[in-house]
């Protein structure tokens, strides 16, 4: 049981940066960034290639740089060339498939028995048998802190305002093209970081490893926003992190309940659907309760 919770926590933290990326692009900038799937794989590919040449730590910033470039292309397409934002992400995503194959040189690159951030931590005897969780959680918490700090700077405020009221941003002498570009670069860098960590965790990178990533991250995001709610930036970022972990716990519970592996995508779809529908259902239930009470009260009066 403990190992299940441990691996669910690990997965929760591993994939949390993707949810944070969507938090930035989808919740804050109000852009559905479909680059995510491809960027996740690109991060893994760059990370794996770096590990093959013996640079597991350098792999993380390298992956983030590469995926930030992918985000830049998406942003360039939509801000400068007038491609609708969803389409811009899809176009980049398709192109990334070939780029990812090029980076890896194969469709499945194993880094088994190569040094990774996890083997380094294990060999240093860091955090005992919890070393994987400790390393991942450490990195993700740093990302969370940096993200919250970043969103409080003037540039961060400008990015938030761009998704809230682009007219006002322009009137404050900020170029929305610039804020969208920075936002998408930062978001995709986070997706890339997640891909980089996952590749080292799994000891392989796979060209199809990002399929459906945007939907899963969206589920984590929505679970977080539904359960933790909106409020200060700290609360919202922690909510996303919490959502990512909770999603993985539910997923593990399903696995534990002997749901066949073939059905896991269906389980994911149900979790996503339920998470997104939850606020509406809750509102509907509350309204029905109120209505019933009001009608009952009226009957008593008569």
């Amino acid at each position: 049981m403990l190992t299940i919770i441990q691996s669910a926590l690990e997965a929760g933290f591993l994939y949390a940066p993707v949810a944070l990326a969507l938090f930035l692009s989808f919740s804050i900038l109000n852009i559905a960034d479909m680059t995510t799937d491809g960027a996740f794989v690109l991060g893994g590919a760059v990370s794996a290639v770096c590990c093959v040449s013996g640079h597991p730590i350098l792999a993380l910033p390298a992956a983030m740089l590469a995926t930030a470039a992918a985000g830049f292309i998406t942003a360039f397409l939509q801000t400068k060339l007038g491609v609708p934002s969803i389409l811009a992400g899809i176009v980049t995503n398709i192109g990334l498939y070939s780029i990812n194959l090029m980076v890896m040189g194969t469709s499945n690159l194993s880094i088994f028995q190569k040094a990774s951030i996890y083997t380094l931590a294990r060999d240093a005897g860091f955090a005992g048998s919890w070393y994987k969780l400790a390393v991942t959680a450490g990195i993700v918490l740093v990302v969370c802190v940096l993200l919250v700090l970043f969103l409080g700077t003037r540039l961060g405020l400008s990015i938030r305002a761009t998704g809230d009221n682009a007219d006002m941003v322009r009137a404050s002498s900020i170029n929305p093209t610039f804020t969208i570009t920075v936002g998408l670069c930062v978001a995709n860098a986070m997706t890339g970081l997640s891909g980089a960590m996952v590749a080292q965790y799994n000891t392989f990178a796979e060209v199809n490893g990002g399929t459906g990533m945007v939907v899963l991250a969206l589920a984590a995001l929505v679970i977080g926003e539904t359960l933790i709610g909106k409020g200060s930036m700290v609360r919202r970022v922690l909510g996303v992190l919490f959502g990512s972990i909770l999603y993985r716990l539910i997923y593990s519970a399903a696995l534990r309940a002997n749901v066949p592996a073939d059905y896991m995508k269906l389980v994911s779809a149900v979790i996503v659907g339920a998470a997104i529908a939850a606020p509406t259902v809750r509102q509907w239930a509350a309204f029905q309760m109120r209505k019933r009470r009001a009608l009952a009260g009226r009957k008593e009066e008569q």
Binding site: T153, L157, N165, D167, M168, V169
Partner: protein, 268 residues
């Protein structure tokens, strides 16, 4: 301060929807001029503002502000020197951000902060924002941590006014900025506008459908029709003008009969 020369714009040229929105507008505002613009719907008042603010580039003509040629500058660059309020109080502020965060963004227009991407709102900034909010006399200085979305339309418009003038712009554009507010609030926002404009000696253009304030506010009254400025009143000529006279001049200036169905002018 502001000089428009032969400013022209045609939308959808060469199609059945062709619309000559601006036809060679010439206008010169001196520093400290406060001009009210009246005119029927579709006369080109808002289009003129959009052209000055940079929402589109003119087909012909030039826009000069304080000696700088703005004609081909993008909107966000112009906004360093141009403050703008719209009729819709929702357009000027970001609803999901706090009052303080909104003010911090507006403050970005200062040259000092242009490149300070990673700077945060300092204690001194906060104190400054507080002082500025206090002058609105709406109690907003005690609600700086609240989302702007919680404010009423009038409060949001007053906040927008503050945001566009906190760093004094070379030109302030007011596009019927009190039209969506209730009479009491409208009066308050108008009074604030007058105070702030007078205090900072701002150069200001204001669109209004209120003939009375068009004659009372500021020192010039302009009238537009069919993409042209057809009347420019100032000095003594303006002082002797009544609302009824202004309507008369409208007919004379436009050179056609007043069509009551189309031209909605309030003489309130």
């Amino acid at each position: 301060m502001l000089e428009l020369r032969n400013l022209s714009k045609t939308f959808n040229p060469g199609t059945v929807h062709e619309k000559k929105a601006l036809c060679g507008v010439n206008l010169k505002l001196e520093k400290g001029d406060f001009a009210a613009i009246v005119g029927s719907n579709g006369a080109g008042k808002s289009t003129l503002f959009n052209a000055i603010a940079g929402d589109f580039f003119p087909d012909e003509g030039s826009i000069m502000l304080g000696g700088e040629d703005l004609t081909y500058l993008p909107a966000y660059r112009r906004s360093r020197n141009i403050g703008r309020l719209f009729q819709d109080p929702m357009r000027g502020t970001a609803p999901h951000m706090t009052i303080e965060e909104n003010l911090a963004l507006a403050y970005l227009r200062t040259a000092k902060h242009q490149r300070a991407f990673f700077s945060r709102v300092s204690k001194a900034d906060k104190a400054f924002f507080r002082d500025q909010l206090a002058r609105l006399d709406m109690g907003l200085e005690d609600r700086m941590g609240q989302s702007v979305g919680l404010l009423s339309g009038g409060q949001r418009q007053a906040l927008t006014l503050l945001m566009s003038t906190m760093v004094p712009p070379k030109l302030l554009l007011l596009d019927e900025h009190t039209a969506a507010l209730d009479p009491g609030t409208a009066e308050k926002v108008l009074r604030l506008t007058r105070e702030i404009v007078a205090e900072a000696g701002l150069t200001c253009l204001m669109i209004t459908h209120n003939m009375k304030s068009a004659l009372e506010l500021g020192n010039r009254t302009l009238m537009m029709d069919s993409g042209r400025i057809v009347l420019d009143l100032k000095g003594e000529e303006r002082q002797g003008m009544t609302v009824e006279d202004l309507l008369q001049r409208f007919r004379a200036g436009a050179g056609k009969e007043l069509d009551n169905d189309r031209i909605l002018l309030s003489d309130r």
